[in-house]
Subunit: 298 residues, 2 copies
């Protein structure tokens, strides 16, 4: 068993990698180029933040991490699909992702569109077929609903549309908070909510507390991301800074200033820790994750 | 109540239009441009073949059409998403769809990518939230699974990938049959299978008979489509013929010849009618649909 949080994260990353590898269709199967593009984009990279949040939530509410693996991986597949489509020439037009050519560069644009499409489908499919999830179909159906709400126009896709529309527009705190809550926040929140939905005995109070935690972490994560693009160390980040400004992206620090953005991150960090108090020591992994995601330098 | 098949089709089209309008998020809601693009692409056009197949299946197995509306519309939303993405410059690069500018022409390419993405999500979402579907969560979960299987790489997305890969390639009967079964057949089959899954009392024999019907109609529909692109009347079709040849698309008649393709359509037509014999007069709408889809001239 892992003893430190770092070991725990490594263990969870390995669990996620193995599970994703099993869920993804093999390249040996037709259409092999499409399957290859899906596997290329999903496997072998990424911090697996969202799955880690799901496993840590499971721990906090008395479930084994294995019972939420499909939920964790479904969120990660949605995340992977969104990165492929975000990188397309018509969207952010990125050539590199995690130091490797983006999907449409490594394959072609048509394959990248289809690979993103098919990863979204796969995310919903594994929630219906996985055998380690709770057997109750009402629970599985709730997972599909929660994931769809987080993925669609009320969530991630809507946030992406608002983000594109906001480029070069005047700054506004309500707008940037809404964009962040949808574009990044919705999926981070979903990681926690899907895991929580796997525990039918969870009280309404505990469920609400986890939601407060998830919303706080989601927003703090994205503001920290905005701050790192301004103040971060390119060597640590593994990418150039200043991209948001170059693209005239609406960011939280651009609206309220760098100092107020730091203060907001600190306040959200405290809120997330406060929200976990009902769970005692069982929520230590969620606490460690909040510390890591909010205080991270890359 | 509608008396003729044509009136019945009109009635079903109106039911579908009203339901889709209700499922789609309003343009008044943010992000309004994205919602506008989704509504533009889904509403006000289309024969609604797939929903009609779902309603006719419901009739054949003793369900009211209203109990399968969400299933019918979920398949139609997937169909609409696929058309938006298929029309993209990186895919088939079409400027017109049903006589109107395609989504990426009427809006922009980024919005078209996101609109397709969000329509896919919405399709799964409505299966979890609709109140007219059978209440049993196990049934709704089965609908999600069947739709995902038909939409992903084993179905429609996989067929699209194979179709792109086959452009300009040598002809082969197994390949073209596989492409057609996935690219068009999977969703047509899903229209029938999802409706059938709403009837828990359906015998395995009846379920298998409906599947034979659905597979036959799906393949015959696409071969007829291929034939119309060669022999059809552009005035009746509302579009120029010869597009497949110009794009070097792999088609059924290109592989086996026009005469053999006609013979295959006729044989499949007979098979679909034979498959319906256990259902008696209750399957008359399914028979009419088979006649219409297979014998259509546009």
């Amino acid at each position: 068993m892992p003893t430190s949080f770092a070991e725990c994260l490594n263990h969870w990353q390995a669990v996620t990698e193995t599970a994703l590898n099993g869920y993804l269709p093999p390249t040996s199967q037709s259409p092999s180029r499409l399957h290859d593009a899906m596997r290329y984009s999903v496997l072998g990279g990424g911090k697996r933040v969202r799955p880690a949040l799901a496993y840590a939530t499971a721990e906090a509410i008395g479930l084994t991490p294995s019972s939420v693996i499909a939920a964790a991986c479904a969120v990660e597949l949605i995340h992977a699909y969104s990165l492929i489509h975000d990188d397309l020439p018509a969207m952010d037009d990125d050539d590199l992702r995690r130091g490797r050519p983006t999907c449409h560069k490594a394959f072609d644009e048509a394959t990248a569109v289809l690979a993103g499409d098919a990863l979204q489908t796969l995310a919903f499919e594994i929630l219906t077929t996985d055998t380690q999830l709770p057997a109750d179909p009402a629970i599985k159906l709730a997972l599909v609903r929660l994931l769809a709400e987080a993925t669609g126009t009320a969530g991630m896709a809507g946030g992406q549309a608002l983000d594109l529309a906001a480029e070069g527009q005047a700054a506004d705190l309500a707008t940037i908070t809404d964009i962040h809550a949808r574009k990044t926040g919705a999926l981070i929140r979903a990681s926690v909510l899907l895991a929580a939905a796997c525990q039918p005995k969870l009280s309404a109070a505990c469920s609400a507390a986890l939601d407060r935690y998830a919303r706080g972490v989601g927003l703090a994560f994205q503001i920290q991301d905005d701050l790192l693009d301004i103040e971060g160390d390119p060597a640590l980040l593994g990418k150039a800074t200043g991209a948001d400004q170059a693209l005239q992206k609406l960011t939280y620090p651009a609206v309220v200033g760098v100092q107020a953005a730091h203060a907001k991150v600190a306040a959200l960090h405290q809120e997330t820790l406060d929200a976990l108090s009902p769970f005692g020591a069982k929520a230590n992994a969620l606490r460690e994750l909040a510390n890591w995601l909010v205080l991270r330098q890359h």
